[in-house]
Structure formats: C-alpha cells, structure tokens
Subunit: 577 residues, 2 copies
Amino acid sequence: MIKEKRNKDIKKNNNRKGFQKKEEPVIRFACLGGLEEIGRNMMFFEYENEIIIIDAGLQFPEEETPGIDYIIPNVSYLAERKEKIKAIIITHGHYDHIGAIPYIMQKLGNPLIITTAITKEIIARRQEEFPNTPKLNFDIVKAGDSRKISKNFKAEFFGVTHNIPDGFGTILNTPVGKIVHAGEFKFDYDIKGNPRGLEIWEKLGKEKIHTLLIESTGAEDQGNSISERVVEKEIEKLFKKAPGRIILGTFASLLDRLAEIIKIAERMDKRVAISGSSMKSNIQIARNLGLMKIKKGTLISLDEIRKYNDDKIVILCTGAQGESNASLMKIATGEHRQIKIKKGDSIILSSSIVPGNERSVQILKDDLSRQGALVYHYKMMDIHSSGHAPQEELKTVMKMVKPRFIFPMHGYYFMRWRNAQNAQEALGLKPSETILVDNGQVVLFTKESAKISDEIIPAYYVMVDGLGVGDVGEVVLRDRRMLAQEGMVVIIATLDRRSGRFLKNPDIISRGFIYLRENKEFVEELRKRIKSLVSRNPRHQHIESDYIKSLMRDQIGQFLYNRTKRRPMVLPVIIEV
Amino acid sequence: MIKEKRNKDIKKNNNRKGFQKKEEPVIRFACLGGLEEIGRNMMFFEYENEIIIIDAGLQFPEEETPGIDYIIPNVSYLAERKEKIKAIIITHGHYDHIGAIPYIMQKLGNPLIITTAITKEIIARRQEEFPNTPKLNFDIVKAGDSRKISKNFKAEFFGVTHNIPDGFGTILNTPVGKIVHAGEFKFDYDIKGNPRGLEIWEKLGKEKIHTLLIESTGAEDQGNSISERVVEKEIEKLFKKAPGRIILGTFASLLDRLAEIIKIAERMDKRVAISGSSMKSNIQIARNLGLMKIKKGTLISLDEIRKYNDDKIVILCTGAQGESNASLMKIATGEHRQIKIKKGDSIILSSSIVPGNERSVQILKDDLSRQGALVYHYKMMDIHSSGHAPQEELKTVMKMVKPRFIFPMHGYYFMRWRNAQNAQEALGLKPSETILVDNGQVVLFTKESAKISDEIIPAYYVMVDGLGVGDVGEVVLRDRRMLAQEGMVVIIATLDRRSGRFLKNPDIISRGFIYLRENKEFVEELRKRIKSLVSRNPRHQHIESDYIKSLMRDQIGQFLYNRTKRRPMVLPVIIEV
C-alpha cells in the first residue's frame, strides 16, 4: 500500500516537473537507520534522478536479537533505484558508519565512495574479509576539498575532531539550499582549555544554511567535553606513578589518543607492545599515511616484553569493554599467551562503558584486581573523554551556524528530542523547525520549508547472522528468546498408522528445561500423560496429526506448567509407521 | 573432599575445646552471598554450638542465567547445623536482604527472625505468596534495643538512614569482641547540608570495635551523597513548573521520599493516586505503623483522576527501571487501563538506572517523550539520591568507629577492593587488616586477629525457576544460552529395526535457526545428507544408535555450519520400529 502510494507520488511529481518548469524543487530525504538507536547510520537525499547517500553503518545486536551478528540498514528502497545513486559519502571510519558496506554495495550497484584516506584504508581492510564482494571504487578527499557529484549536488568537506582521525562534515549544495551534515564531532581544546577550529562553524554562519544535521549522542550530557589534553595529562600521571608494567585498554579507533600515549611512553623511555589485531592494523594504517610518528625501537613485539624491566613496559590493548575475545579479557582470565597479570601491574581502562557492557566490564575489573593489579577507570579520574559533543558544544555550533532548520540525527528518540530542545534554546526555533522523525520517514525539503511527509520507506531491521543476511526474521528471534527463557521439550509419538496405537514408548527430549536424567519419575509421569492423551482421543482410528499435536501442546504444556510453573516450548512430533 | 576436611577440622576444634579450657575463642565467619555481586546478602557467625545469621537476600538473574527467577544463597552448610542457629537478624526490608526467606526458613528449622516492625510487615506480606511455608517467628526490635540472643552472642541495634525506613546496624557482642555490621546506610543531611545522627558512630569509636563490616556499593563513588533535602527541593521545582499532570516513577521502597513528595503535593493542593501494588502495599504498611501521615482526601483512586483538572493530579508509580510489568512501562506502551499519556504530562523518573536496565529505561524515555510527555531523569537534575554511602561518607564512618579490622561487604570484588583502599587511606590499616574474601571463604576471628582460613563452605548459586529451587543447574543454563544464540535442529530418523533402513523420510524440526518453511530446498538437501549418512554406515545391519547419533551431530552440524556459519544445537533421534 505504502509503496504504491509512494510510486504514484513520485510519478505525479515527475509529471508535474515535465509540464510546469517553475514548480519549486523538492528534496526527498530519509534515514534508513540511526534515528531509533545508536548505530546503523545511513541516510540519503533524492532529487529528480539523483540520490546521494551518507554513511552505511551497522548496529551491534541487542538483548532482543540474540545470536545475531549485526543489524544493517534496509536498502530495498535504494536498491530499486540503484541507477540513481551518484555517491556514498562516508564521514568517518567507525563501524556504525562503515559496517554495512560489505553487505549492501552490490545491491546498490557498487556506487562511488567518497571519503578520506584513512577511512578508505579501514573500509578496504575490512572488505578483505569478504572475498566475494565487488572491488570498491573510492574518491579520496581531504578537509577543504569539494566535489561536484552530480548535476544537482555539490559537496564540500570540512574537518571535525572526533575520536578517530580524519572525520569530516559535509556541506551539501542542493537545489533547495545548503544542507550541512556536521559529522560526528566534539570540540578540540588547546592546553589552556580554549576550543580550536571553530572558524569553520563561524564561516558556515555566513552562508545561509538551510538545515543543519547534527548528532544527538551527547545531547543529554551537560557542559563541555573533557579535553583530550586533560586525558593525556592524567594518563601521564598514572604512568609516572606505576610501580611496574602498564597495561592500557582502549578502543582500537582512538588513534590520536594512542599516538599521544606512545609519545608519553617515549618521553619516559618505555617500550610499547600492542595486543589486539584491530589496534595493530589501525596503527599500521595511520603510520603508513604518515598520521602517526613512532620512533624506531619504541614498538616491541609481545614476545620481547620479557627482555625489559617491568617499569619499562607499556602494553596497549583492545578489550576495555570486557569483550570476551579481545586482549584484555584474555589477559584477565589467564588465556593470553604472552601476558599474565602480576602483582603491581597497572591497568588503565581509557574508555567509557558502552551501555550493555556494564557487567562484562565489572567482571574484567574484578578479575584483574583479584590478581593484584591496580585498576584505574574513567569514573575514578579523567582518563577518557567521549568523542561526542555534549550540550554546550552542540549549542555553540548551532548558534554559530544559525541554520533555518535543525535535524537532530544519531540517537534514540529521547536523545534527539533533547537535542531539539537544545536547538530551541540556542536559536529560538519553533518545534516544527527542529525535525524529529523516525527511520524511514520521508522529509521534504523545499527552499523555504522542511515538511514531514506521510510516506514511510522500509527501514526495518535487516539482520546478519553468519552467512545469512536478512534470513533471520521475527519468528526465529522470538523462538530464540523463548528457548532462552524456558527451554523446550520435544515429544515424539510413534504410532501405528492403522490402529493409531503406540508402537513404542513416547520419546522425550528436553533442553534448557529441567535435566531429565535427574528427573526420571517426572519423565515417566509425562509419558503416561502423553499415552493417555492419545488413547483418549476418540478419533484414534483415523489419526489427525494436527489435532493430536495441538492437544499435546496445550495439555502437556499445561501439565508441565502446573508441575513446574515454567512454560517450555512443547514440540510434538507424530511418527506414523 | 572439602566437606570431609571441614568436618574433621570442626571435630578437632570441638575436641580441643573439651580438653583445653583456656584455648582462645575463635569465631568462624562466612558470607554465603553478597561478596561477588550486588544482592544475595547472607552471612553467619559460628561459635561452639551457636550460629547467628544476618540477612537472607536474593539476587536478580543475570545475562548468564536466562529464564531464572532469582538466585538465592546456598544454605546447605547451615541446614546441616540447623539446631545451632539461634536467630536471623534482618537489617532492612530490601529484597537483597529478605528475598530468600520463603525458600530457606524450613531448611534452617524456622529460626527466630529479629528485625524492626516495618521490615517484619514487608517479610510477612511476601510470605503470604508462599502458602506452604511455616509461620515465621519474629522478635520485633527498634533502634536502641538490645538482645541477649544466646550464651555467647548479644546484639545491640542502632538506626541508620537508608532508602527504606527502619533499617539498622548491629553491634554483635561476641567472645572475641564487638563486631559491628553497619547495615546499609548513607548520611542524612539537614536543610543546611550538615550530616545528622553521626553520634552513634562516634559512640562506637569509644567501644573498642574488633571488626567493622561496612558496605561497598558506593565505594567507588567519590564525594558525598546528594541530600534527600536537595532531591525534594528539585522535585518541588518540577511540580511548580509542570503544566499538567505529574507522573512520578520511583522504587516502591523509597518510603521516606514518597512521604515527602505527598507532602509537597498537599502543599500545592494536588491529589495523589498510586499505581503499582508493591508501592500501594508499602505505603499501607507505613501508614498502619504510623510512619507516614497523609491528610484525608489527598489519596484518590486511579479511577477518580478524571474528576480533577490535570494540574491537580500527581500519580506515583513503580516501573522507573522500565520493568515490563510495572505501571510506568504499561503507561508508556498504552496498556495501562486508567492512565494514557497526553501532551503536557510531566514524567519524573526519581531513580537511578540499575545496571542491566539501561536499554529498558531508554525505551521507556523514548516511548514517553514520543507521546509528547516532558521527561525528567536523574542525569538532568538531582531528582534521585542513592541509598549507599559514597567514599567520603564511608571514610568518615571508618574514622569515627576506628575498628581494629575492616571487612568490606556487599559488592563485586573491585568495589570491595576499592573499599579496602578507603579503609587503608582513612585508618592507615595494613592490607591484611582489610579483609577481602569470596563467598563461602571462612574467616577466623580471635581476640587479636582476623585470619582467612583455607576452608570453603558451599556458596554456589541456587537458582529459583518457577516452582523449582536448585533444579536448574549449569547444564540447563548452558543449553538455554546455546539455544538463544543459534537455536536447534531436531532430526528424527525412523528406521526399520531389522534392516536399518529408513521407514520414512527423516523428520526435521528447527526453532531459532532458520525458518524452515521459507527454506524448502535447504531442508531437502539436509534430508538427503541424513539418509546418505545412515546408509553409508557400514554397520547398518546392526544399528548402533549412539554411533549414528554422534555421527549426525558432527557431520550434520558441520554441514549446517558450512552452509550458514551458524552452529545450532543438533539433536538426533533414532526411532527403531
């Protein structure tokens, strides 16, 4: 229904364009992810026969999606219009902005990717894990560059500070005006605590910006960012205090901070070993591109650690979120081949806790401190700073850019709602000028307006599980959730086809319910019930499997519930021989 | 092994006591929960033929224990010695201190429970849900009371401020000296911000305290508590600002705060309705005991809300953690019978987020704000204060009490480790004087020492799931976790007993793996594999079920993995007819 209506609308629009040259231009804009979550960022602008996409990220699985590897944006709308796609602009190299690329590019006709050098390298490295995907085409840009992408779209790029290098914001020149995608950013403070690089926002303020798309991740956080300079100072203090080895866990993408930490180590004549392939690979990329300078001899391999005194050793590693396969967790559990915790090790967790990881990080801290390590984390001191601008910085940017409309992007509804409040407070905008929509909802931009249309584009979850993309649906997930809660019982009744009588005792298998081997009496009673259920069946001379099966599900289910107050999934099987 | 050794140790000990009268007294002390988690608090002191227990709490399930209702302490050690148990002291009415009572009292011989009036009422109300449990025996005490519990133990009780009324601390007079259990507490500040009621700690400082058992929940949090006076002021401000109805969600046990909020409502001539049975019941208990005064006419039923103007209405409700069955979530999802959100409602979430509930609270905030409500939560302003003393308050108490030893209780290892640091910083204690053990580890107190023994008492998880207590073990949980991740495939091969040949096509059932109805080709291929597997079996003339089954598990498992990169649980069933 929706799709039909939409197609009609488009036709109408196109027709009109043909006849009435003076009709005002309308840009169709929608997000396919990123508006009801942190992650899965992807959006597009459509005008006549041209589509420009920004970002193609993934989302990590949630409690409600057990067993899933990733969730990616639904690109069916774009796939149907792939010939219109002129480019995908990738703002920076985090997985919630690049992670869907290997899964969707073929469907979209492998369009040009416009991004910076380091982001390109990160995308390309990941692509190596997907041998059957097409070769990607890149157009490498840097801050200050501009590109005439198509007849109607021109993009200019400006650098922003984030917690991965080489991220950018985009000024999209469109037929309705300039739309600015601010990227993901925070302020960069100098040693004195003054923000640097605000000129770009000031400049935008003079350019009559139509709409500012601005992230909402930090929209609820009050005040300003903790300066990376402060973070570095605090880490340096801990380095000076450390009696033995230093093991610092952080995100693999925090390259600027890693570069500074390596410099601190060099100043203190310490050697640095790296554990964690993503961190190693990222540092390699940054070095290749000349973005990270490390003195000869500073980096050592993990096997060389033992050659140095403990107070000469810094180990940088992944896994500060307690991820079970990452280095720090392996170190904590004693499974790391080269690194075992010893008394006097200092562990610095230079990261915040991503919601959902609280318990893993608790286990990590417990395990490490139990073995005698001194553990420091961000709640104890300023050894981490978020990559996302909090309220005051967001408001400052809004005030400098002075757009006609604000579109709060990236975040759960409440975060974006809070960011809309920020915009209303900073600029005195009306609620209708701070646009809040959901994934898939189409916004129509004209020169003077930004209207939410009734049209909804498919934006539901596409789940990646193993090799399957999109084949795990709500049924499978619902079953997984049910199985996790109460387990299941399979009942196999082997019946004589003619007489309807049991040829053998019913077979019962259960998993995740109760341990049957320890409950033999219970199993016997269950068997009796099943037998009497089937033989009570008045129609047993003509077995109606479906009828008996639904009887079993209901009555055996009820019996199990009465006896245990649990509701395992009951799966009856009738074998007729 | 451990158990045998332990019994021998005890015998040796008892024998020695018989022969040598002058041997110095030794108290055996252990926690059965509460040292590796937040929750499941229970500990005991054993001397000669006497055991005193403090608290009997439950723990809420974790990610690793899917489908479980609660985790309770393992009381097998105590059950074997139930004739020695002289009393259970219950410090306050939170579930992590009382929740195991219905499950363990019978096993422990239904000993006397010593507690305060309000805690008794909360325990008794809950007990009504367990009709087959014995009638409990209570000894009601109040702050300032003391009890000679047995020959060797005397207890004195002193009031502490927590976020449930009538909690207390205990001075246990033992043969080795005075051991203080500080209860769970935070400082109570007056309007000027000065702490009240510190005299008790000062008094203890003059009594030569042997060991102070002090909670660690807030041990990592810096500074002092937010005063409840500040919280009340902030809530009052929001009440004044609210354009329409006020819906305030908080914990049902926060009775002091609820009392103050009702007073604010009365001052502003608003009516108060309560939604949530636990909150209603708690308020009823407090009113019955004269601990809460509410003016006639203030409380109205939910059905009466419509009779008043919106700005005259305050609704107090449970569910600020996003619990799916609690009032606020029902309001948010539109399932609440009497309360639907309207634009202009103010929602005040007067609670912090219990770790693990982040996502539920996010959904709650999203759903409410999406419907036009103004949502306020603790990160935006001081509308909640924890019930647990942070670092500065913990240190102040330590300094005032000046015990010989500190036992950090209640919390994960890292929290207790941090609290041990607090003790070392506050009192200059040596690490060996700040005792860190795990659940089940026995500590031996003599007059001059506190030593960690090698003895371990069973303290592993006892899980409550429906009617079953302890019948869900590691096997069942492991299966639940596996089923949740990848689902399962049941393969039923119906074979002729004599020939070993298939009597019919193999039956395949799967749940949580892929949706078979949409994958018919895949199922056909799977059937072929199964058939060829069984017929390739050289021994097919003499079917060896176990052999074929393990073959199926391995080879079909591998086939499924190759095709999907998923590893569902494969459950082969051989039916021989």
